[in-house]
Amino acid sequence: MFKWEKLGKLFDPGERQSGSWMHAFAQSPSVVLYETHVRVYFCTRPKPDADGMYLSYLAYLDLDRRNLLDIVKVCKRPLLNLGARGTFDEFGTNPISVIRDGDEMRVYYAGWTRCESVPINGAIGVAISRDGGESFVRLGDGPVLSYGPDEPFMLGSPRIRKFGATWYLWYVSGKEWLKTEGKPEPVYRIRMASSEDGLNWVKHGRDLLERRLGEHECQACPDVLFAGGRYHMFFSYRRSHHYKSREGGYRIGYAFSDDMLNWQRCDEMAGMEVSASGWDSQMVNYPHVFMLDGETYMLYQGNDMGRTGIGLARLVSPRDWGRH
């Protein structure tokens, strides 16, 4: 079992008065390491419109590499514009995953569009930075990973990785929309695609994880790292109804694999639980694990899907990521 020491809430845009475009929410943290600082890309939102609908933008904050609780910089404006009229990402770019690739950086993101019969739809886009991650430009007006016969809607939650020369994308695909008393709720699960160039993708075509919460379990944010000779995935999962409460809210799960395709789910090993009180007492979700200067850390969101910010935890044990 993993043992994490919670280091506390790192950042809450609502407390910082960071600007109208960064009114609330710090979601989907994704780390890129620099010599003197650790950059955390994340998604943030202005106030909702009159109908309660949100936009979401890409942002970053920089942490002092020697003291990760010290925020040295917060970006001043969105790093990526929203998409043009009628495109898949007209209303938001969230969640995100950022990767360095030589002199360039790429962000893979879920684009938000709005529909009549269901609130939103999503597909995965890509944008590139050639100024060290200060700004991103999309590579096309359309998505880089789009719908298919068995992935009909709600593609999202991308996590981009490169192992050797091959690009891997873990993501989620919608299975069905459930009718509820309020808005329809989507059911989605974790999948994988691979690519030679990060642009032309071969979808693996099946759900990677078994279900623990029944037919309508939602699984998201498949955060994969390679350590101790095998692949580890931290992810979040929840029920499809009443998920904004402590009982039904997101939890962090864990699975491991030797080949990236066949995964053994062992949520009981994840070791990351909700707190008794406070900002992460109802849910913990959207984990992102990274290694830095001999330590392993997890960034994650708390209550209300990250409305109240991002927290940080440090791995206490095991230290060696060996077989456990």
């Binding site: 043009a84 009229r85 009628g86 529909c115 016969p149 009909p152």
Partner: protein, 317 residues
Amino acid sequence: MKWIKLGKIFDPAEHELPLASVGFAQSPQALVLDDRVRIYFSTRERDRSGKYLSHVAFVDFDQRMQRILDVSRRKVIGLGGLGCFDEHGIFPINVLKDGDRVLAYTTGWNRKVSVSADAAIGLAISHDQGLTFERYGSGPIMAAALNEPFLVGDAFVARYGGVYHMWYIFGLRWIRQSEEAPLDRVYKIAHATSTDGINWRRDGRLIIPDTLNADECQALPTVIHLDGRYHMYFCYREAHGFRDQHGKGYRIGYAWSEDLQNWTRADEQAGIDVSAEGWDAQMQCYPHVFECENRVYLLYNGNEFGRHGFGLAVLER
């Protein structure tokens, strides 16, 4: 090419169609069977909000295209489920005999908020000579892509030399003529190939040069191989004012190719134009070319995008 007009051959008001049709018989496309020619089209109903839903229906003609034998009495293919790409309509449907099966390439429509709708191409398969179709998955086989951001539709599929070729359209941009005007879409014809009819490789280029202007809308390509050449018919129009302004509505365009890659546009050789008066005097759109008993036919819609039915022309040879 020279076409002899045979007039309007089907008026949806004269038949009892399933699904509470309120008119429209759009984008007629033929499946030539042993004893009949089955012509699929899209008809419309209004939903509770007053908006249209497009449904697939068909009419059977004898092989001389002179007599109506039957019209579809049951659902040919239902609409997609909640949140699916084809939840609010299928229009058009392109059918292709493939051994014992009939493949249908559908254009599915779903309603959006900032623009009226989006579209993607689905596949459905029939094992009963096209009476009914089952979806190949609840999602599309051709959807938006990096450089094809929306409105992917109007597939026409043909097999040449063991390869499936698809001609289709995708949207480039949504634009307004003026600040108060509604948004209009711009779309163009493209090409993709496949070895199985399911997984497609796109060319990534626009294959038909514009003649009106950069915002010309090109739609519904249909291709036939005759006398050693590939002939493409399609329709095209201005981006704005195309519903009601004289001269801005759909016309039938034409291009030819010898290699399926390079197309020469030659609308003046289309061999068909709007009539001086009558059902196809303001507009001609949604052409579909097919061959039956050594005759080559052109199905198409006239005024009001096919609200009042479709007509037929035969190639003079």
